[in-house]
């Protein structure tokens, strides 16, 4: 720990080919689904990056690419300048220890036939942590007590279906913690949990970042929660980053029309926070056949001819605040 670990993503693409129904009933047409369409960012140790966007914006695909559950069509992922492809070829388990992921659905994260003890101990064994079985069990017990699952002995012999969503999600985070990852991706980690336990999970993730300098990528559609936890925010639309920057810059001074719409539609419990909702047309589209213009143009409330002709370049708004729109004056 302490060493400055950085994650660098350069021009990452992930395209799928999909057959969809053609003009008549029997013909199919091959279409390219651009799930992730050219993404670059940089993340340093101890930083928290929030990724927000609607379903279909490619945020989950990005998570899978980073953890190598899927492989990119193009582009590279570098850890401290070292190519991730090289790393995983050399030592698969070391790569897994570098970057870990917490899944959205805690009820299905574990093999339903394994007890909690088996789930944790097998993970430790796989990564050669601890020497004997009892060694690993006591590691598991210690870690569980630390996150408030005590007495841990009570939980060890239970099966996933006997625990609540909040408890399972804590165990899921704990399991990744035991591997001491440098980077953690949390893909909508609280969206399936009850409101009263969400805060605990968020706090647990925050502690993890503070105590072990782990960098966190927090993927969510919930802007309020993302704001709470992250240092910087990336707004994605149809596989591309439309706006990014320091959390408060982006959320309090959004410049991209999509970010503005997203924030204005976000319900809040604060009664005096009510703002006028920006209305846009259409439904969230699928990432097929976009462009050549700005992907958001068909739904945008300030579209002009130029928006349909070319994709806007990324512009610098202020320090650490970038957006891609034709109608932004860059400084």
């Amino acid at each position: 720990m302490g060493d400055n670990y950085t994650l660098e993503v350069n021009n990452l693409f992930k395209h799928y080919t999909q057959r969809i129904k053609g003009n008549n009933r029997f013909s199919t047409v091959k279409k390219t689904v651009k799930a992730v369409d050219g993404i670059s960012f940089k993340l340093e140790a101890g930083e928290v990056m929030g990724v927000i966007g609607e379903s279909g914006c490619g945020k989950s695909t990005l998570a899978k690419l980073l953890t190598k559950l899927e492989y990119p069509t193009q582009g590279e992922i570098l850890f401290n300048g070292e190519s991730s492809d090289e790393m995983i070829k050399k030592d698969r388990l070391r790569y897994k220890r570098t970057i870990q992921m917490v899944f959205q659905n805690p009820f299905d994260t574990f093999d339903p036939r394994n007890s909690i003890e088996k789930i944790i101990v097998e993970t430790l064994k796989m990564h050669n942590i601890g020497k004997t079985h009892s060694d690993r069990v006591s590691t598991a017990i210690n870690a569980m007590e630390k996150i408030g699952l005590s007495p841990a002995g009570d939980y060890l012999h239970r099966f996933p279906h006997e625990l609540s969503g909040g408890q399972l999600q804590r165990i899921s985070i704990l399991r990744t913690m035991l591997l001491k990852p440098k980077f953690l991706i949390a893909d909508e980690p609280v969206s399936m949990l009850d409101v009263s336990v969400r805060a605990d999970i968020i706090k647990m993730l925050q502690d993890l970042v503070r105590n072990s300098d782990t960098a966190l990528i927090f993927i969510s559609h919930d802007i309020n929660t993302t704001r709470y936890i992250s240092d910087k925010i990336v707004v994605m639309y149809l596989g591309r980053i439309v706006e990014s920057g320091t959390t408060d810059y982006v959320l309090h001074n959004p410049v991209h029309p999509y970010t503005k719409t997203l924030i204005s539609n976000c319900a809040s419990i604060n009664m005096d926070e009510k703002t006028d909702v920006i209305k846009i047309e259409g439904e969230p589209p699928t990432p097929i056949d976009n462009g050549p213009g700005c992907y958001f143009a068909p739904r945008c409330y300030m579209k002009k001819d130029i928006c349909f002709k070319e994709y806007p370049e990324q512009k610098v708004i202020e320090e650490n605040h970038f957006a891609s729109c034709h109608f932004i004056n860059s400084n």
Partner: protein, 320 residues
Amino acid sequence: MALLSIKNENVIYKVKNKNIHAVNNVSFDIEPQDSLGIVGESGSGKSTLALSMLRLLPKKIAEVSGEVIFEDRNLLTISEDELRDIRWKEISVVFQKSMNSLSPIHKIGSQMSDIYMLHNKTASKAEVKNKMTELLELVNLPPRVYTMYQHELSGGMMQRVSIALSLMHNPKLIIMDEATTALDVITQGQILNEIKELEKRLSIARIMITHDMSVVANTCKKIAVMYAGYLVEFGYVDDVISNPNHPYTRGLLKSFPTLKGERGVLRGISGSLPDLSVQHDGCIFESRCPERSESCHKEKPGTVILENGRMVMCHSAGRR
């Protein structure tokens, strides 16, 4: 006069020799053109309450007692035929996945017409088609949806069709059970706005069941907070959110991060839902309550009625 008034309603599920008290002694009124949000976590009995009002729970396992008075009729005792008339015509329900109940191989329009014809058997074809296009327009859907199939619609469009269906017979009350939960932020925001405008125009009362307090804060006049089958707090949204009186409501509000202002300490509510199959002597929230005292353990709190129709079920309510 109240449009719908619920008096001392109880729902008990009988499963495997256990009696699970899903709804306990809930009473409240809904005025015409009111909008009420029922919030609570999973297992709080909010959906059970709504379904039981229309007797939609399986009779074999659910035992409902109390009174649900809708325009001088007790929905829990009237005959099955009468109830069928009220459902959809006067009270309609939109579920989270309403569209799943429609057939994937028939066009949206023809299914909508079929449903319409169930209650209006004499309507002519042209008349029905007109009415359907009108309905689709009402929820901001293009007329081409009439000839589309279920799988060609996005989640937001499907939910709009469900809302259109529920508005078909100009109901007086519409119940939305997590109707916008699964939708994207923007779509949800837009649909909620449309609903607000629609009910003004058509003078409909609405009950909104959700776990998302912010949705209620933005779209409802009144709020009912449920916990473990009890109605713990009830009142106008502005009152409840700016000055929550029950510790559970306070806890829920503290678990929500806000978009602006300081990033205060986010706090969850420790512990978990109590076992609803055993009787509790004291307050149901006692085991998780940060402000519990001696009497909370021994005695069930009564419902304290405060100004402005506010109801709170807590020993310390009104004393502060």
